[in-house]
């Protein structure tokens, strides 16, 4: 290894990615905002008014953390995956591979940019939610921190998807077939304490439960599982993702012959 780091290279990739996001800012930010608004109208107002409070929280407010997570999961995976998949698909990746950039720097640049976008999106959805419900935030700093951790972990996951995918179809298949169901079944719209056994126990095997629960804790001070458990899960997720990426770069998996 050389004794300097190529921070200008990281900045160049980061800027390139942010410019790409800026070009599609309208569609990529308007879509989740509209989706969120629709969820509020349907779940918050129409159905929520007939529902009891969950854990002492009005239902419309209860679903906000889950909704933010839902959008952030999808967008994080998608943005990070596209970031590395596009050059691979178009062939422009030759330049990245031939640049004096270490694997760690490449990941920092791509995942950093995608996570930044996810954070912006999460904050926009949160702001939108404020127009619909009154929303206390018990631990604002923890809330932002948790958002950042979730963005990073799902962007790492998306980065893996982007390297793994050989086609546009493969790129979408994991988010659609795995992540979306796991999110819906992970307590985005309900507390898992509302589930009968054995579903409640089965649900505890869904990692998304720990993420949504932890994020909800930062708002209301209560979650389905203790916040420490949630943090351990996020940390574990990040470590596994970094491990997989490390393996991919070391072996050149689907990047280099």
């Amino acid at each position: 290894m050389s004794d300097y780091s190529n921070w200008r290279g990281i900045a160049a990739v980061y800027r390139f990615e942010m410019a790409r996001f800026a070009r599609t800012a309208l569609s990529s930010l308007a879509t989740p905002v509209i989706t969120t608004a629709l969820y509020f109208i349907v779940f918050g107002s129409a159905i929520g008014s007939r529902m009891q409070q969950v854990d002492g929280i009005p239902y419309a407010a209860f679903i906000v953390p889950g909704l933010i997570m839902l959008s952030m999961f999808t967008e994080s995976i998608f943005n990070a995956a596209i970031g590395i998949f596009m050059p691979k698909w178009s062939g422009t990746i030759y330049e990245l591979l031939s640049a004096p950039l270490s694997p760690i720097e490449t990941v920092i640049a791509y995942v950093g940019a995608a996570a930044t976008k996810s954070m912006v999106l999460g904050i926009i959805i949160l702001t939108t939610a404020h127009f619909f419900v009154s929303l206390p935030i018990a631990h604002p700093v923890a809330m932002i921190g948790f958002m950042a951790l979730v963005s990073i972990s799902f962007c790492l996951f998306g980065f893996i998807m982007g390297i793994w995918a050989k086609s546009w179809e493969q790129l979408q298949i994991i988010p659609m077939l795995v992540v979306t169901p796991m999110t819906f079944l992970g307590g985005a719209f309900y507390s898992i304490t509302m589930l009968p056994e054995p579903w409640r126990t089965i649900t505890l095997f869904n990692p998304v439960v720990y993420l949504i629960s932890g994020f909800r804790w930062t708002f209301f001070g209560v979650g389905d599982v203790p916040i420490v458990t949630s943090l351990v899960f996020v940390a574990g997720f990040i470590l596994v993702a970094i491990g997989v990426i490390y393996w991919m770069f070391r072996t050149g998996y689907r990047l280099k012959n």
């Binding site: 050389s2 190529n6 200008r8 070009r23 178009s90 030759y94 990245l96 004096p100 280099k256 012959n257």
Partner: protein, 318 residues
């Protein structure tokens, strides 16, 4: 002077089992234009891709500007500018943005004056604010060259630089290559067009079947392997070679109209005067004669042919 690129025992076997490179040794001198000549699939692009970090070698070592390509890859890659064969560029970026991006990617601080001079040299300055997708194929190729030059590389790789390129760009590119060499840049180009190597290169390496079979000064190569061909256009077509002419290695053209005689340029005796006397004695009339110096292309075809035959014999023996 130490070579700027040094390659030792470099081999590459792809996952498919295809052996793209077989123990290649090569030194490239600083400041020269080196042409790597070979047919499609000879291993030219594999060799360049390994040096640039795009493909991993199976075995062997290489260094660029004194830096090992794997243990000191940052410094090695910084010294290299690559213009790949395939026309691949970003689409939505502007010309100026993409070339500036390339410089940053290689870790250099911004230098708008350098970027401007590169874009001007490639007649791209007027198009600097155009999106790449709006450009023609030739202009995109210019953008790729500009990207490769954005970080002031000491070594420039041009992989099949004139494949599908118009005359203007070809001329501009050669002007630029000469200018770069005057400035001390080493240039390695791969090609299967012999004229390109003949026109540009100081030295030529011939690669085929993953083996570097010959590396030679271009002029020495042409001298060493140069052959001339004498064509005798006959008055009357012949159906077969007359036995009187068996002393010379002659060929008869398919229509029987021409006698073809190949000989080494630098042989003391070509045997031509004797051949002409014998023709006269045998009563074979001819209308015209011409001799032709063989080009690098003929040399090359001969080499590749010999190599292929050699391989086949080896395999039979084994």
């Amino acid at each position: 002077m130490a070579p700027i690129i040094s390659i030792r025992g470099l081999s590459k076997t792809y996952a498919s089992g295809h052996k793209a490179l077989r123990a290649v040794d090569l030194d490239i001198n600083s400041g020269e234009i080196f042409a790597l000549l070979g047919p499609n699939g000879a291993g030219k692009t594999s060799l360049i891709s390994i040096l640039c970090g795009i493909v991993r070698p199976t075995s062997g070592t290489a260094s660029v500007a004194g830096h090992d390509i794997s243990s000191d890859y940052r410094a090695a890659r910084r010294a290299i500018g690559l213009v790949p064969q395939e026309l691949t560029t970003d689409q939505f970026e502007t010309v100026l943005a993409t070339v500036t991006h390339s410089r940053g990617l290689f870790g250099l601080r911004k230098n708008p004056a350098h970027i401007e001079s590169v874009l001007r040299a490639l007649s791209l300055w007027e198009k600097k604010d155009a999106k790449i997708m709006e450009l023609s194929g030739g202009m995109k190729r210019r953008v790729m060259i500009a990207k490769a030059l954005s970080h002031e590389p000491r070594v420039l790789f041009l992989d099949e630089p004139t494949a599908g390129v118009d005359v203007d760009l070809r001329r501009d590119m050669w002007d630029l290559v000469r200018k770069l060499r005057e400035g001390g840049t080493t240039i390695i180009l791969t090609t299967h067009y012999i004229e390109e190597a003949e026109e540009m290169a100081d030295r030529v390496g011939v690669i085929t079947g993953g083996r570097l079979i010959l590396v030679e000064e271009k002029t020495a190569l042409m001298k060493k392997l140069g052959r001339r061909t004498l064509t005798v256009h006959l008055g009357e077509p012949l159906s077969a070679l007359p036995s009187e002419l068996a002393d010379w290695e002659l060929r008869l053209s398919e229509d029987g109209q021409d006698l073809i005689y190949e000989f080494d340029t630098y042989d003391e005796e070509s045997g031509i005067p004797a051949l002409l006397r014998r023709l006269d004695q045998s009563g074979i009339g001819f209308k015209d004669l011409n001799t032709r110096q063989s080009s690098l292309e003929d040399i090359f075809v001969g080499l590749v042919h010999d190599q292929a035959r050699g391989n086949a014999e080896q395999e039979q023996a084994a």
